[in-house]
């Protein structure tokens, strides 16, 4: 089999997969943000009222051409429809290349939106080269006879090798790959992590701190709760020897086994009170078993999390209290 024919044949699955992938990522982006406007990208070239219809047309066209390339690849559909789909694909990429050049000149801050929210980086020369390359790839498929059934054995090495090489080239020209890799390895700093209050309270209720001091607490509902950087503070009203007190818990904001600190404060004077030995209630066997079941060891621990720090506090700290654990208890 001639090398040129193999190269042309390889373009069909490559183009189809890219078109369908592009359409799918846009759809995911739109569904997640519940707005077609989310898939902005190159539609920023148009006036506001045209952006939504242009985004819909773009996505539909990509999907239709991707499916069309697959359906017209074999012997089922031949002739004019086949070439029309391939010509349409080439035209799409040519128009996309021109649009990206225009977008780069007029809105250098906007990404192309080719692969949904993965394409938020400003349009670069790589994105332009990719689009032009795919336009050429589509053009050389025009007039290609129906694709042969997949080769077996040694004969399959050549088309697979060309496909892999082209895929690597497209990946090298795609800024989205870098963005995807960043997201895969991304761990959000604890200061920016969104942790629901219910989750914090649930973690607190499972902790040994809670069990120790539950006897003092007089209400299930916190009197106050607020967050500062990596900590959420939960205050419960309580009573100790007839005096109204407040129990303050600082819970570190992470998914599993958060570090917790606690203090007992006189509700009237604000003085910090020493912990009362009588207020400690050891955990029952059932509690321990339940705790083990509910709180598996953390699989991932963000680098910004504090260590367990079981030791006693060591005097005034020089760094932010919110990022330190000096007297932490991990249940």
């Amino acid at each position: 089999m001639l090398l040129s024919v193999v190269v042309r044949e390889v373009q069909i699955p490559l183009l189809a997969s890219l078109l369908l992938g592009s359409c799918a990522t846009k759809l995911v982006h739109v569904l997640r943000d519940r707005s077609i406007d989310a898939a902005a990208g190159a539609t920023a070239l148009f006036s506001v009222h045209l952006r939504r219809p242009v985004a819909i047309v773009m996505c539909t066209t990509e999907c239709a051409l991707g499916i069309g390339l697959i359906l017209t690849a074999g012997r089922i559909v031949r002739g004019a429809p086949t070439n029309a789909v391939r010509l349409g694909t080439a035209l799409l990429f040519l128009i996309a290349t021109c649009a990206l050049i225009e977008l780069r000149a007029t809105r250098p801050d906007v990404g192309c939106g080719c692969f949904g929210d993965f394409s938020t980086a400003p349009v670069s020369g790589r994105a332009l080269a990719r689009s032009a390359f795919l336009a050429i790839a589509a053009l050389i498929t025009i007039g290609l006879p129906p694709l042969q059934p997949p080769h077996r054995g040694v004969a399959a090495i050549l088309p697979l090798g060309i496909f892999a090489a082209e895929l690597a080239l497209v990946a090298a020209l795609s800024p989205e790959i870098g963005e995807g890799l960043v997201r895969l390895g991304y761990s959000e700093p604890c200061e920016l992590r969104t942790v629901p209050a219910e989750q914090t309270v649930a973690a607190l209720h499972r902790s040994s701190h809670w069990r120790r001091h539950a006897a003092i607490i007089t209400s299930d509902k916190p009197a106050d709760m607020w967050r500062e950087l990596c900590w959420r503070y939960v205050v419960y009203p309580g009573e100790l020897h007839g005096r109204p007190v407040e129990l303050v818990f600082a819970v570190f904001l992470r998914q599993h086994r958060p570090a917790i600190q606690a203090a007992l404060v006189d509700a009237a004077t604000g003085n910090v009170l020493p912990w009362q030995p009588g207020s400690v209630r050891p955990a029952s066997q059932a509690d321990r078993v339940r705790r083990l079941v509910r709180s598996p060891a953390p699989v991932f621990s963000a680098p910004t999390d504090p260590g367990p720090g079981p030791g006693p506090p060591a005097g005034p700290a020089s760094a932010g209290a919110d990022r330190q654990v000096r007297r932490s208890a991990v249940f």
Binding site: L192, V265, G270
Partner: protein, 363 residues
């Protein structure tokens, strides 16, 4: 005129009458949790002095080293702002009436007033609502007066022949802005899209319940609010100090002299965030705080700084991705929305709208 009362729902734990007490209590409780090891029960903080002094509990809470210098501003150190209604004015004196009675202020020879533009103080009229900046050392002397100044910052929700209806976020009332023909050119140069969905930030004169927009406070972001660019991912720790633009807001239903800051990234749990998508939009991701957290705010133009408590949320501030160019060009994003009194105390000029600022969390 469209109804400006619509959709005004104050969020939980945002500014209100009990804010000051809550701030003091939270600082006390936080200090109790993070108190040093050698501080026994006897060394417990006194709630009466905690909120005002601010330094002792900062140390106890293990805040950053600079916290030893930073504490809440006192009237003896920074210019103080007085708000009231002008009762009488002469070339050398000004009498202002406010909630506690009348107060007479001498004017410095170089005192300047503003009412839509610079003017001599004697041109002010009785009945004008004025904000006075008092001299640093002489408390009974005013050197700067702003009359009837107002500001509207938010998203345009409706445009009519009379003006614009602007949504200032979930915690504030909607505002109506009129733009007189003499200011239209100036404003439209900086705000080319005065259409629903776009942001606006104008300074002008209060006339009844509406604002007559005269000065653009910034340049309009190119995006609609529902098409905000996604913020960049942040790895590792968020930096201790964040630079950007510090703006001011009108007191609305709060006392006018409050020293505080509206922070654009309050804990999502309190429901102060703006935007339509999941999460909180914004060009810069800022660490989450709550009412009562303390920020050390520094005016990079004058070098003044003071520790201010977070008193409310600046939900709309997060939607702006602008820079302040009062002295040099600040990094993008609004890091603090100060009360008028705080803005003046830190050396800001209200009609300028912003100053380049650096905030340090924990103060």
């Amino acid at each position: 005129m469209p109804d400006t009362r619509a959709d005004h729902a104050c969020c939980d734990r945002c500014a209100g009458g009990a804010t000051a007490a809550r701030i003091a209590r939270r600082r006390l409780l936080k200090a109790a949790v993070f108190r040093p090891a050698d501080a026994g029960a006897d060394a417990s903080p006194n709630p009466g002095t905690q909120a005002s002094a601010g330094a002792a509990d900062d140390d106890a809470a293990g805040l950053r080293p600079q916290s030893k210098r930073a504490r809440f501003a006192t009237s003896g150190e920074l210019p103080r702002a007085v708000t009231g209604t002008i009762i009488d004015v002469s070339p050398h004196f000004l009498v202002v009436g406010h909630g506690t009675g009348e107060e007479r202020f001498a004017l410095t020879p170089d005192a300047i007033a503003w009412r839509g533009g610079p003017l001599d103080p004697e041109a002010l009229r009785p009945g004008d609502q004025a904000v006075l900046r008092l001299h640093k050392r002489a408390r009974g002397v005013a050197d700067r007066i702003w009359a009837n100044i107002g500001r509207v910052t938010g998203t345009i929700v409706e445009r009519s022949g009379e003006g614009l209806l602007v949504d200032e976020g979930r915690t504030r009332k909607r505002q109506f802005v009129t733009i007189p023909p003499r200011a239209a050119g100036r404003i439209e140069v900086r705000f080319p899209s005065l259409e629903p969905g776009y942001l606006i930030d104008v300074i002008g004169l209060r006339r009844g319940g509406a604002l007559e927009g005269l000065i653009p406070a910034t340049s309009q972001p190119a995006y609609r609010v529902d098409q905000m660019p996604a913020p960049a991912l942040v790895s590792g720790h968020v930096p201790d100090a964040i630079s950007g633009s510090a703006t001011w807001h009108e007191p609305a239903d709060k006392p006018p002299g409050v020293l505080g800051v509206a922070y654009p990234a309050l804990d999502p749990e309190v429901g102060c965030a703006e935007g339509t998508g999941p999460g909180i939009p914004g060009s810069v991701r800022m660490p989450y705080l709550s009412i009562g957290s303390v920020l050390l705010v520094r005016n990079d133009c004058t070098g003044s700084s003071c520790a201010l408590p977070v008193t409310s949320c600046a939900a709309v501030g997060r939607l702006f991705n602008d820079r302040c160019v009062t002295c040099g060009t600040s990094p993008r994003s609004r890091v603090a929305d100060l009360t008028q009194a705080s803005f003046i105390a830190l050396g800001g000029e209200l009609e300028r709208g912003c100053f380049n600022a650096t905030i340090t969390i924990g103060g």
